[in-house]
Amino acid sequence: MEPLSTAQVFSGVLVQFTPVWIGLIVIMGLSAYFKARLSLYGRLFDSPIGMIGLGLVLFWVLTALFADQIALFDPLDQFRALKNKPPGTLEPESEIAALFGGDNLGRDVFSRMVHGSRTVMLIAPAATIFALMVGISLGLPAGYYGGSIDTTLSFVANLVLAFPVILLFYLLVTPEIRQTAIPSGLAAVLFIIPIVFFITFFYSRFSTRPDVLWFYLIPTIVIGGFTYLHLTNIWNPTGLRMEPNTLNIFVSVVFVTSPAAFRIVRGLTMDIKTRDYVAAAQTRGEGPWYIMLWEVLPNARGPLIVDACLRIGYTTILLGTLGFFGLGVEPESPDWGMTINQGRKLLRLYPHAALPPALAIMTLVLGLNLLADGLREQSLKD
């Protein structure tokens, strides 16, 4: 059977991504149409760089969403006829083309790249949000109170930051450490912080209005508590659970990223607490947590959103590093970092196996960085 020509491979890829193109057009079109009403997000459409960034990020979000429709093969299936075959080779039984060729085990590179986006899209934003929560919950009091709280917390944060990331991963993401209580212990500590955060968040504002307070607190406690018990595996009625190694990766990434988030929040808080509206709130007799969560935090949101975008990109790079060293990833899974590592051994003869995931990581992180740049530029225009 004749393999496909370069042009055919190219058009084949374009056709496979149809759901993504439709989604992109719909989202970008609607956002551009309503941009006047969408504040900062809407103004993103005034900056070409921001728009390109948003497009790249949305591309991978939609790819992760529609991975089952886009991929032509199962990412784990091995076909002897596809072993190390160049892009465009047809699989003889189904006569479907392996658009980006096959890897050294005869798996379809294209489908693996598409499915690999799922893990990244799940873990990277979630871990970043968690890290940001931890950073906010600790950075606000450190920046606001200063003094010994600040000294202690900053010391701990600098301790983690002085650790070379790669060494920490080699120590924290191993099968041996999963036999101990460390990952679940860390998870138990780290995952309770968002719940405490939201309870304080609502309590500091509505403590004098019990009816409104309970309206917010009950869902927080029920949803938060349920998720918490699930994630830490203390009580598990639905049977849905995070794989121990995924939990291990997740916790380690949150642990490594939160000190950096802490430093940013602390710096912002120290700056914002000198403003007049904070002094006004203090004069009104508001409690410290009300000031931190309802006066300081909303005014720090611009830089924090920009930082979150950059940090998701950084987390993506971290996840790739973990995969590259084969730490904590299922050996068969289509993780991008690991695929690069497997493909690099035959790189000089068959570059097609390692290049697609490499370009995938690059475009996703590039998109996030451009998006952050566009957001920063637009938020400075006020």
Partner: protein
């Protein structure tokens, strides 16, 4: 200044102490010790044999006793023995570190001028096409981690597919003698990732300086643009990037580990992977000391350098 230095050194020592203790505690977890026992003897040891071996080798004594023993040894210059290489750590470590030192040196030589040129060229005319293009290049380079750029560069410059075989895809030979052919790719790969960040900092700092009043004065009295950039702006614009360059070292360490395994260059990064993979306790501890000390010293230098370079900043005594 002196009390500032002393306080910083004190915090540094405390940090190093805490960090090594954490590493010590982590490598000495029970499952890690069991793995070590099995690797040192044979994989089919029974649990009882493992316990006996650990007891005989003294691994079962209290953690603090063993940590202080180890620390005492290190302070006297004895880093212990490597179980992976079956040799004293001192013999293994320094040789590898020297190899990585060479790599770092060349990375700096390539990266710093490149980053500063890109940053200055972009920042001196803020908002122009030149600025936009160079900034995008800088962003693209920060978005490309070593394991991605390494793969792409190898495919372009070292594979039979493209045909440009300018560099070698493996740097094993560079351990004996460095040539552009066998050392170009690892240096380029690392320099590219670090470059973008420094370039962006330089750009931001340059753009800020260019709006300063003294630049306007210089323009008004008729100094050429070239001279303004080189004589008036550059020096003031380079303070911020200096700190960033020093703080790049911890990042470079992760890069070293990736690049050394990508290009098969057996330096410090390779040693760290070997030590961690084989649960070589004393070697891993020594590696982490080196890493932590490098990080802390660069932080200190960047602080001191910042004060020294910028006369407006004074440390409170």
């Amino acid at each position: 200044m002196l009390s500032f230095l002393l306080r910083r050194l004190g915090v540094m020592a405390l940090t190093a102490l805490c960090l090594t203790f954490i590493v010590f505690a982590l490598v000495n977890l029970q499952p890690n010790l069991e793995k070590l026992a099995k690797e040192q003897n044979n994989m089919r040891m029974t649990d009882q044999q493992v316990t006996v071996w650990l007891e005989e080798e003294g691994y079962n004594r209290p953690m603090l006793t063993r940590y202080s023993e180890w620390l005492g040894g290190v302070l006297r210059g004895n880093m212990g023995d490597s179980t992976r290489f079956r040799a004293p750590v001192n013999e293994v470590l320094w040789e590898r570190l020297a190899l990585t030192g060479k790599l770092m040196f060349w990375v700096m030589v390539v990266m710093v001028p490149m980053a500063l040129i890109v940053g200055v060229l972009a920042g001196m005319r803020e908002g122009t096409l030149q600025d936009r293009t160079l900034s995008t290049v800088a962003i693209a380079s920060t978005a490309t981690p070593e394991y991605v750029s390494g793969v792409i560069l190898t495919v372009i410059f070292a594979s039979k597919v493209v045909g440009l075989e300018w560099f070698s895809g493996s740097s094993t030979k560079a351990m004996e003698g460095i040539t552009v052919y066998n050392f170009g790719l690892p240096v380029l790969t690392m320099a590219l990732y670090g470059m973008g960040y420094i370039a962006r900092m330089t750009r931001a700092s340059m753009a800020e300086v260019m709006t300063a009043q003294y630049i306007r004065t210089a323009r008004l009295k008729g100094v050429s643009f070239r001279n303004i950039v080189i004589k008036h702006a550059l020096r003031n614009a380079l303070i911020a990037p200096f700190t960033v360059i020093m703080l790049q070292f911890p990042w470079l360490l992760t890069g070293v580990v990736i690049v050394e395994s990508l290009f098969n260059y057996k330096g410090f990064g390779w040693l760290l992977v070997e030590a961690a993979g084989n649960n070589d306790i004393e070697l891993l501890l020594s590696c982490s000391i080196i890493a932590v000390v490098v990080v802390l010293i660069t932080q200190l230098i960047s602080d001191i350098g910042y004060v020294y370079l910028n006369p407006r900043i004074r440390v409170q005594a």
